[in-house]
Amino acid sequence: MRHPEQKTLLAGEESAATPAIESAGGKSDGPAVILRGLHKSFDSQIVLDGIDLTVEDGETLAVLGRSGTGKSVLLKLIIGLQKPDSGSICIHGQEITLLHLDAMNEIRKKMGFLFQQAALYDSLTVEQNVAFPLKRHTKMTKSERGDRVKELLASVGMEGDLKKMPSDLSGGMQKRVGLARALALDPGILLLDEPTAGLDPITSGEIDELILKLQAEHDMASIVVTHDLHSAKTIADRLALLHEGKVQIEGSFKELEKSDNEFVAEFLKRDS
């Protein structure tokens, strides 16, 4: 029986040599995220059918694919909101699929998650939303927390809306606040679920620029799930295209363009 805290060495992954997560944001020498043979089904529907992906520290991977191909499920597996049927998920060298709740919560503190609809707590103000993780997981004084919240909201251009309720904000503004909340604990890994979905092209462009700026400032590994090819091209170093539960192709945008895979060509053509 494996101890929940036991770190796993993946076969063939010499870089995943289980260094301890110590530094701010939980960074280590190995890749930030390693997924191997990930399977997930809902009843008889196979959503993910053997996903293998690696994301290095400071790298941004965009996961593309048609609606319902399991892109959001992939992010929820990485942050432990859902359990895979089989396969391995390593976060900074630590296998998380068998972790108990307390240990998983420690890992989650080192990850930021932006939900598709921002998922702001609707009974709390913008300020309280961003302060929520700080209040729960740090020993900051009230004034330190206030300063940190202001700093985070300033970084996403929302410093003037501290006292507003989420219902008073537009979709784009909610995404900005969601980003500020995701960055509150200075995570080493940022997971973004459709950051530009439902936004007009100008606001989408602003969100893309904001993500690029924040990535440069925080030097995080990011996984961006999107079906917006333009956005993916702008913010990602590498792209992975999901189809029928598998990664059809993985590489830079230029590599994807050169692919002779029929589905890849069709996807790029339809989206361009």
Partner: protein, 260 residues
């Protein structure tokens, strides 16, 4: 005929599945309760939300029941020449049964629906996922605090309902035939022991457990959009009222055996 059997079997299956899920949920909440942090601030917020905000409705229900019981009982007792028994009949009826069950049902309506709708709405808008993703245990932060608040507040609300019931019972009586409140109380509590009062009041803590547990469970398993939230709110009220009534029957028998 086979189709009837199939539907009955499906219904039983559905009920057993629901009960199994409820047991698993209760286990998760119980497990989370023994771990730090203890969510004191959220518990206080819930005590206020569930306790002080239910007080006006519970007090009103208690007052109405007291006044109606007084008016109705007076007529019957006069017919049997037992008018002097009215204060005792009223007080016993309110503190032993009417106060606790009325409080349980009123709170299951107000609080059960509130918890079911609030948590249901949080579930469908991914707010519960967001809490979990930020490394906070939603079973403790959302469910445990609400359940404990219900358990602690129900006996206190019952005391308020009992007091208002007796007070308005006296007012209804004194409007027909003036009697001092002190004399009414003295006659009402003649022969009453501490167990007459204590056990029925504290059985409402079990009602609180039922209301909190079912409200949180139904809310946190909400599926779908607004229709799902509506279903969670309604089913929280229906199921918690049903289980409060069932628990009342069982606990009354239990109290009669252990506190005769």
């Amino acid at each position: 005929m086979p189709s009837t059997l199939t539907s009955v079997w499906s219904l039983i299956n559905h009920f057993l599945e629901w009960f199994g899920d409820l047991a698993f949920f209760a286990w998760e909440v119980a497990r989370s309760a023994v771990r730090r942090p203890y969510e004191g601030r959220e518990l206080i917020r819930q005590l206020d939300e569930i306790g002080s905000r239910s007080l006006p409705l519970v007090a009103l229900a208690g007052a109405a029941i007291g006044a109606v019981l007084s008016l109705e009982s007076r007529d019957s007792l006069v017919r049997f020449g037992a008018k002097s028994m009215l204060p005792a009949a009223l007080v016993y009826s309110i503190i032993r049964e009417t106060g606790p069950i009325v409080t349980g049902l009123v709170v299951s309506g107000r609080v059960g629906a509130g918890i079911g709708a609030e948590l249901g709405s949080m579930k469908v808008t991914e707010q519960i996922d967001a809490i979990e993703a930020s490394g906070v245990n939603p079973f403790k932060f959302l469910a445990f605090t609400r359940i404990v608040a219900c358990i602690l507040m129900l006996p206190l609300l019952t005391l308020a309902a009992d007091f208002c019931g007796v007070l308005f019972g006296w007012i209804a009586e004194t409007l027909v035939e003036p009697v001092s409140f002190l004399r009414f109380i003295n006659k009402g509590f003649v022969g009453a022991s501490f167990s007459d009062f204590l056990a029925p009041t504290f059985r409402t803590a079990v009602f609180g457990l039922i209301i909190g547990m079912i409200g949180c469970f139904q809310g946190m398993r909400t599926k779908g959009g607004t229709a799902g939230v509506g279903f969670s709110a309604t089913s929280s009220v229906v199921l918690s009222s049903l289980f409060v009534i069932l628990a009342d029957v069982i606990l009354v028998k239990f109290i009669l055996v252990f506190f005769p």
